[in-house]
């Protein structure tokens, strides 16, 4: 396959361009998404110019209406893609996510489906403070009725977004602000990435590392360093948190006997807890040590850069955790 190097911004934009050209029912809405601004992070750049103002609409700062309008439009035949400028604003529209978008199909006895996407960026690393730096996937993960997608690179971002636009369940699509401008290879040809299939980024035999979002890159770097010390890491990026490809994760842990889960969201009640619990349930007899979790501290994100850095797992943390787990048996 011929490849180009694209940023995640470009890759996501391509996905929208291609799918909107293919399917006239797709439209985008959100704050400042229309040209010339094209979205706070340019994901929707050029869509209004190309497809018209009707299909890429600026809204007031009214997130409950943004998501709720998407629900109403999806219920009546369209495929809305709603942007939240920061996922942190899910708080002001959580009813529309939790009680409407996620539940309507079931409550209505299957009369409707809601083929809609709420997407936006999240995460820390840019000094945006406590209300603009959260990693919020656990809230969506705990909400039955949603799919939760969290790409870690341009290739997956494009392919997953295209898959989401071709199925009929409501999706939360979580981008990471620090991944937007990281480049990666993207095929010239059309492709999709299936939902519910993890990416085994690296095969290994000593320890399984399950990492999500921005943490995948840190885990990759850590794995490379660990390889030099003779520790062989199998790195898994679930790509979609729901559906979760537990088979791949459990299969890997059965092989390595050890597992570290790495996510940026704070630890208490995070997605890592569910993955750890399920690994225990399914691979108990294969575990040489407790599944470990490296995660954000249970604090609001601090502003000062060195505190912000200390609040989430870094490459070094992964290296240290893997070393102790493999060499010293981990937490015990």
């Amino acid at each position: 396959m011929a490849m180009r190097e694209l940023t995640m911004v470009q890759a996501l934009n391509e996905a929208l361009q291609e799918e909107m050209a293919r399917d006239g029912k797709i439209f985008c809405l959100g704050e400042d998404v229309a040209d010339p601004y094209g979205g706070a992070y340019q994901i929707t750049k050029g869509l209004a110019n190309r497809f018209g103002a009707d299909r890429c609409r600026n809204t007031p700062i009214s997130e409950a209406a943004i998501v709720g309008v998407a629900v109403g439009a999806a219920q009546t035949g369209l495929r809305p893609v709603a942007e939240l400028m920061y996922m942190d604003f899910m708080g002001v529209c959580f009813d529309q996510i939790l009680n409407q978008m996620a539940k309507l199909r079931f409550m209505l006895g299957g009369q409707v489906s809601l083929p809609m996407i709420v997407r936006g960026q999240q995460g820390s690393g840019r000094g945006n403070g406590a209300q603009h730096s959260q990693s919020l996937e656990a809230f969506f993960f705990h909400t039955p009725g949603l799919l939760v997608v969290q790409p870690s690179n341009p290739y997956d971002a494009k392919g997953l977004l295209k898959s989401c636009l071709r199925q009929d369940n409501p999706v939360i699509f979580l981008e990471h602000k620090m991944l937007y401008n990281v480049k990666g290879p993207v095929p010239d040809e059309e492709y999709v990435v299936p939902l519910g299939v993890a990416d085994i980024c690296r095969e290994g035999s000593d320890v399984t590392v399950v990492a999500t979002g921005l943490m995948v890159n840190r885990a990759k770097a850590a794995a490379a360093r660990l390889a030099e010390e003779g520790i062989s890491v199998e790195l898994i990026d679930p790509r979609t948190l729901f559906p979760l490809d537990l088979e791949s994760i459990v299969g890997s842990v059965m092989k390595t006997g050890r597992c570290i889960i790495v996510h940026e969201a704070n630890k208490r009640g995070g997605v890592g807890a569910e993955i750890a619990a399920q690994i225990m349930e399914r691979a108990f007899d294969y575990l040489d040590a407790p599944v470990e979790r490296l995660a954000g501290l249970d604090i609001p994100m601090p502003y000062a850069p060195h505190l912000e850095k200390a609040a989430v797992p870094q490459e070094d943390d992964i290296v240290l955790a893997a070393r102790r787990l493999v060499r010293e048996g981990g937490l015990r």
């Binding site: 409950a64 009369q111 009929d168 299936p194 939902l195 490809d245």
Partner: protein, 334 residues
């Protein structure tokens, strides 16, 4: 406005259907055939029927916790509504929804909603959807008086006004949100005054007079259909029952309730039509509605319950290339 005899009788029939549906529902609740909670709209029939009479079949309705009437008036199948309240598989929501989630999308009834003002943005979305798909339909978005103080209503009203979408926000002002008087929850003389804050017209109408409601609603829906944007219609009305069936009434006097019974919309309209010489038709309709309700209940009572084995089936659509989206059963089952 001169209305035809047929149309007037159809208004009466709808109001009576709503009234009798609600009364039967309470009966079935008292007999424990219905569980959970039901919010009766008895007393509010003129508002409900008057507005929906102004809609076409292709138009949409969104509603609230007090939505049986809206659903019925829009054309939901009465037997399927009873079956839903009884928790049966052939209920309009397959027994999954219940009273507060009655919906019949095939007839344009997009859903009741148990979150106050929760469906207001859906109404705007449906109107946008109609516009983008060129269908020129309007949406009647029903809410209660107390719902205008909810953020979602505000955002929806503003957005409908900015996008000039044909949404008729219908505020059925029955004077209370649960036990709290409207004077304790807004500083306005009339709720339709809120419309000006969005740049849309606001109209207050006697909600006990079905023809007055119809006329007001028709003017506003036609306006919407012409592309002139949304409007807010406030209907002044009253509910006789507690907030939900069985709730205490301590917050209002018997005199107050009685005085409103003097303005009973079904009774008043019956008087009017009888005065026009339609007594025979009215009697016939009464008999038919009685019969219709009895048959619907009898049918619904015989309907099967949902199969527990299918409990997780409707959470996700199964058209995605992924494993096992059907939810997971608990670990232990016999």
């Amino acid at each position: 406005m001169t209305l035809s005899r047929e149309f007037r009788l159809s208004l009466f029939r709808k109001m009576l259907q709503v009234r009798r549906f609600e009364q039967k529902a309470i009966e079935m609740y008292q007999r424990s055939v219905i569980h959970g909670t039901i919010h009766s709209c008895v007393g509010q029939e003129a508002s409900t029927v008057g507005v929906i009479a102004a809609l076409e079949a292709k138009d949409y309705v969104t509603s609230t916790h007090r939505g049986h009437g809206h659903s019925l008036a829009k054309g939901s199948r009465i037997p399927a509504m009873f079956a839903e309240l009884f928790g049966r598989e052939t209920g309009c929501c397959r027994g999954r929804g219940g009273s507060m989630h009655i919906a019949d999308v095939a007839v344009g009834m997009l859903g009741c909603n148990a979150i106050v003002a929760g469906s207001t943005p859906h109404a705007v979305g449906a109107a946008l959807s109609g516009k983008l798909q060129g269908s020129n339909n309007v949406v009647a978005c029903f809410i209660g008086d107390a719902a205008v103080n909810q953020g979602a209503f505000h955002e929806s009203a503003n957005l409908a006004a900015v996008w000039q979408l044909p949404v008729l926000f219908t505020v059925e002002n029955n004077q209370y949100g649960v036990s709290t008087r409207i004077q304790d929850t807004t500083a306005l003389k009339q709720l339709s005054d809120r419309a000006a804050g969005y740049g849309m017209p606001g109209v207050t109408v006697d909600g006990q007079d079905v023809e007055a409601v119809y006329a007001a609603a028709l003017a506003l829906t036609e306006r919407g259909r012409r592309g002139e944007g949304p409007a807010l219609l406030e209907t002044i009305t009253y509910r006789y029952e507690g907030h939900n069936y069985g709730q205490p009434m301590t917050y209002r006097s018997k005199e107050e309730i009685d005085s409103w019974r003097q303005k009973d919309p079904v009774f008043l309209y019956r008087e009017k039509l009888a005065g026009m010489g339609y007594e025979a038709d009215l009697k016939a309709i009464e008999a038919e509605v009685e019969q219709e309700m009895a048959a619907a209940i009898a049918w619904a009572l015989e309907q099967p319950l949902p199969d527990v084995a299918e409990i997780t089936d409707l959470v996700y659509v199964d058209n995605t290339p992924f494993p096992d989206l059907s939810g997971r059963r608990r670990v232990y089952e016999e």
